[in-house]
Symmetry: D2
Subunit: 142 residues, 4 copies
């Protein structure tokens, strides 16, 4: 990703530069190196990372807590708030990638496998517009 | 990712096939298409997705709740539990990607920007082995 | 609380029976006895309980995830959904009480102390109608 | 609760002063008055409060994130950390009480009803020492 690239999509949509799509394997490697360089591997046990991830989820939640319903694209957020949201989403992602790595799970492969499973479990023609199906999809109930 | 690929790293490490690194932009596109095909876009407002993400975080937490301290690689998990963990990590990732997309935030670019910011804020030579620095890193305090 | 008492307020408002106000100390005792009778104390370490609490928070979140904005009193919830919500709120409360007990913290006393602190930090006449003050109140920033 | 009462149990155990047991109905009333005095009721919709509650859960998680396994009574916490833990547990409780009130649910009655239900569902003599039963208890699976 080019220097100075804005984390909102308008300025550098990855769609237009597919070869620059940020990969989960690359993030995994960078995070492992970041921890190793700081000797922070000693703190990165699965449950420690899970609780750190929860901390970031809480910070993300705080950005939305007094907003009432928010529309797509966050039109009621100031630019600073939107930037903050990009940072909190990133923090969640980075701890998630690190947690998966420490659990010895290939997150990219797992995500693709889960999407394939979801596509089989929720065929488009039987689920169209159904909030009930969306609910069972999200809650993991069968 | 090849058919039948196991989501644990041993069988198909993305490191050995860097061209297959699963990209966040690709996941974003696939998830958008998945929602569109099922007419589920109507449910995917930012706060709806944030709460769905929280639901998945809860399911992930349940896998670790009665385990006591868990070591790297999840040696005390059964294969079924580890597979379940891969699925829950994936669910968190997929809702996170979808939430970022609906917020009009490029998650990959945001993650790279945050990692660069973290590297500047926490220089390796000043943070080595410090849990206090790791704490402020994780809690966002300065 | 009388047998068959409905957990919605209409049928047995504690206001009208102040002597029946359910106390946190009583819940603490009942939960300790419940765990002891089942020999579940061995599972109730602080971090185990914290993750179980997170699991319940996730289940609570799922009840609200596809609802869009919800008004006070949950007018769009079915009676079954409202009952389910009462159960999930209870689950969060019960694990919270148990966690506090295991941490050797008197939750009732701590809550009163925190309310007194909040009243001093956020004087009514300086905070009236301010979402900014409500934000710092909720996010713990000063 | 007497002035200057320490939120750890040693100094003023509610057990020894049962008439001082802090009630959920009392907290509900105090919180309602607190919001009314500050004209903050406008911010207290169910989903706003749910996200604020999530924010507090995140802050609670951060206190435990780099600790590794923590024993009962938090022996490895400094007094300041234990005090901080008491405050975060309180914040979770206060938002939970407020959320229940806004949902028009009597949290105390609901909690007693849930404990009765749990006692029937998990008879002591059939669940003794079983982590599997404790898991289904906590995860709500049947």
């Amino acid at each position: 990703m080019a220097e100075g690239c804005n984390p909102t999509k308008s300025s550098c949509d990855v769609q237009q530069n597919p070869e620059q799509d940020v990969g989960l394997g690359r993030l995994r490697q960078d995070l492992a190196e970041f921890a190793r360089e700081r000797d922070w591997e000693q703190f990165h046990s699965p449950r420690n990372l899970l609780l750190a991830l929860m901390g970031e989820m809480g910070e993300l939640s705080e950005l939305f807590m007094w907003k009432g319903e928010v529309q797509r694209g966050l039109p009621t957020f100031t630019p600073a708030e939107k930037e903050h949201c990009a940072e909190e989403l990133s923090d969640v992602l980075l701890y998630l990638c690190r947690l998966a790595d420490i659990c010895d799970i290939d997150l990219g492969a797992a995500a693709l496998a889960k999407m394939k499973k979801n596509a089989l479990k929720y065929p488009a023609d039987k689920c169209r517009g159904s909030s009930a199906k969306a609910y069972t999809y999200a809650s993991g109930q069968s």
